[in-house]
């Protein structure tokens, strides 16, 4: 069983959903980024999603756009990100690591070589935002060959007719985009989440994580209880950004500025389970 499947199975047995955290690699610099990412499991993150910086992040809001620019300025490259994962994996054997990004840097690196090197570095799954199922043959065979899960986004606009096609191309877990929009710009409509997830569950056995509109511990707890996990990205990136100097440099407060909210999110998700039980 893959690390992702193992982790979801374990959490299911515990009766709670997963906390999935998203941060951009190299934000605001390599050393700080490494320290934060390494601290995530102890702070309560169940799955670590790492953004691969891209110059033109079309599905991201202002916060993550700025994070990407900081990361690129700090020297982030595809080999650099894979190297970072290798270092995290050296001390963290169990927590799944998912890379999320856009297709062009992957294509530029070489899709097959990327999948091989990512798997060797300790990556468990990929989310490539701008490769929909219609273009899946560009990446799917390479992911499969190297044992990487290919996690897909499902949006509120994905209709019933399209659903089987998207689900059929997905492994690992489903990433349900809870808003129509870019990351971090709207709040999810929590009343509509449960029916939306229930509709998905009629079509798939895969775990479902909800993301794009989740900021607070309370929202995360709701999302993680109606689905199998909650993804929090922009809120953490904002917390990180708020700790930086005016020039965008890390300060002694930066690492804990991210890990403290992760602890709160984790605590809320864990107590959400108790309430539900």
């Amino acid at each position: 069983m893959s690390r992702i499947a193992t982790r979801f199975a374990k959490l299911k047995a515990e009766g709670r959903g997963a906390l999935v955290t998203y941060l951009q690699a190299f934000d605001p610099d390599r050393a700080t980024s490494l320290e934060i990412l390494r601290g995530l499991p102890a702070a309560g993150a169940d799955i670590i999603e790492i953004g691969v910086p891209f110059s033109d992040p079309m599905a991201d809001g202002p916060s993550i756009q700025k994070a990407g620019l900081r990361a690129l300025k700090a020297g982030a490259t595809v080999p650099g990100v894979l190297d970072l994962v290798r270092e995290i994996r050296a001390t963290e054997a169990e927590t799944p690591i998912v890379l999320m990004g856009y297709y062009n840097p992957v294509m530029s690196y070489g899709v097959d070589r990327f999948c091989a090197d990512a798997a060797a570095a300790g990556v468990d799954g990929l989310i490539i935002v701008d490769v929909p199922p219609e273009e899946a043959d560009e990446v799917e065979p390479h992911c499969r060959a190297h044992g990487l899960d290919l996690i897909r986004l499902i949006a509120p606009t994905t209709d019933e007719a399209r659903l089987p096609r998207v689900l059929g191309a997905t492994t690992g877990f489903i990433y349900y985009v809870s808003i129509t929009g870019i990351t971090g710009t709207r709040s999810a409509d929590y009343a509509s989440l449960a029916p939306a997830v229930a509709a998905l569950k009629r079509h798939t056995e895969l775990p479902v994580a909800i993301g794009f509109g989740i900021r607070s511990p309370e929202q995360a707890a709701i999302a993680a209880s109606v689905a199998d996990g909650a993804v929090v990205g922009t809120a953490l990136v904002d917390a990180l950004a708020a700790s930086l100097t005016a020039e965008g440099q890390a300060t002694p407060a930066t690492v804990d500025a991210v890990l403290a909210p992760v602890r709160h999110l984790a605590a809320a998700i864990r107590s959400g389970r108790r309430r539900a039980a």
């Binding site: 110059s55 062009n104 530029s108 986004l153 606009t157 209709d159 929009g181 709207r186």
Partner: protein, 412 residues
């Protein structure tokens, strides 16, 4: 090229929106259902006589089509003077600069806005670089009573003030984009972000033959009116097809519009002219085919300017309309199969052509079109006198007089 050419080069794209390996639909899942909806609506509109009639009516009575095919006699004679004996091809201009709003852009905008109405969309968004596509979209939205938001890089807003004001006069809202380098590619990113957030009521009117399928095909089809007219006009004037077609390419909509109806005519050579900026061997140009490599951006696979790590790099050209780090996917394919030759013309060559055209023909061309003309100035003296070249004079240069004055060291 070892691969045999297919029977017709005019059949693309395939059902995946690909021209060879280029094109496709590389968008986030949220947009995917809408892209497919646009495709379906466009397929229906192509076969809908009432839709086509309405578009034709607008082209005739609002845009002023057909645009003339002008024999540039003084320019032809000027080039013959310095050409070897017996050389100096006859040069014609396809005068798209006479269209309402001053460029070819309006042809495809009217088609797209009619489509948006047919789809029941009530809000239009667009991106613009130099402002020509923004002005055309704002114009069509004023005519058809639709709210219009135009995304424009803050850098471009600064250097294209007259067009910003035009858009405002036409009732559009211009939103300056400060992300990234604040130019055309960032404006396109922002357009796509807006669309993702407003899919229920919004139509994204893309200005060139790029973006996810069906845009490259749809914009090309609407712009093909240029080539279809040119064909009829040159047959009427000369009794035969031209020997060469020349057009500047940024995204490449004016060039696709001229080239497409001639793609199967093997005797017609085609030249796509990229902006070489400060030179192809500097880092400041917009020559995606000559200096880029295949990648994926803005929904399609095509040639892109990018660094070794797949990060998109900034384009540069004296012409804001060519200042884009990519090119339409059909051009990428026509390059790979060798049907069209893509060359570079630098800022200085374009400036020279701009002035020659103004003085010899009494036509102030857009800086984009001046790139095409500069290639004609090189090409015509190498071709015999009985040969014919058609240049797509895609836009007029009123918008560029401030830029040109600055480069000539004049204050206006």
């Amino acid at each position: 090229m070892n691969t045999p050419l297919p029977n017709s080069l005019r059949q693309g794209p395939d059902n995946r929106g690909r021209f060879g390996s280029f094109g496709g639909r590389f968008v986030a899942e949220t947009l995917m259902p809408l892209i497919l909806e646009v495709e379906k609506a466009y397929e229906a509109a192509r076969r809908d006589a009432a839709f086509q009639d309405e578009w034709r009516r607008l082209l005739t009575h609002y845009v002023g089509r057909p645009s003339p095919l002008w024999y540039a006699q003084r320019l032809t004679e000027h080039l013959r003077k310095s050409a070897p004996a017996g050389m100096g091809a006859k040069v014609y201009f396809k005068r798209e600069e006479l269209n309402h709003t001053g460029a070819h852009k309006i042809n495809a905008v009217l088609g797209q806005i009619l489509l948006a109405k047919k789809m029941g969309k009530t809000r239009i968004i667009a991106e613009t670089g130099a402002g020509q596509h923004g002005v055309a979209t704002a114009t069509a939205c004023a005519l058809m009573d639709l709210p219009c938001v135009v995304y424009m890089g803050a850098t471009d807003v600064e250097r294209q003030q007259p067009n910003v004001f035009r858009m405002k006069l036409l009732g559009a809202e211009v939103r300056p984009v400060t992300s990234g380098a604040a130019t055309l590619k960032d404006a396109m990113n922002e357009g796509l972000r807006d669309w993702v957030a407003n899919v229920h009521d919004t139509y994204y009117c893309i200005g060139t033959v790029a973006g996810p399928a069906p845009y490259p095909q749809m914009v090309r089809d609407f712009q093909s009116v240029i080539g279809i007219e040119t064909r009829e006009q040159i047959l009427a004037a000369e009794g035969r097809l031209p020997d060469a077609l020349v057009c500047a390419v940024g995204g490449g909509s004016s060039a696709m519009g001229l080239f497409h109806p001639f793609l199967d005519d093997k005797e017609v050579a085609m030249w796509g002219v990229e902006a070489a900026g400060r030179g192809l061997d500097t880092h400041e140009h917009a020559a995606s085919i000559n200096r880029g490599r295949p990648g994926v951006l803005h929904g399609n696979k095509t040639y892109l300017l990018q660094d070794g790590d797949g990060q998109i790099t900034e384009a540069h050209s004296i012409s804001a309309g060519l200042d884009y780090p990519g090119i339409g996917p059909e051009h990428a394919w026509l390059h790979e199969i060798g049907r069209v030759t893509y060359v570079g013309i630098d800022d200085q060559e374009a400036l020279n052509a701009f002035q020659i055209c103004s003085r010899l023909e009494g036509i102030i061309p857009a800086l984009e079109s001046a790139h095409g003309l500069a290639q004609v100035l090189k090409l015509a003296p190498t071709m015999a006198r009985d040969r014919i070249i058609v240049l797509n004079l895609s836009g007029r240069g009123d918008k560029d007089i401030f830029t040109v004055a600055k480069h000539l060291g004049e204050k206006i």
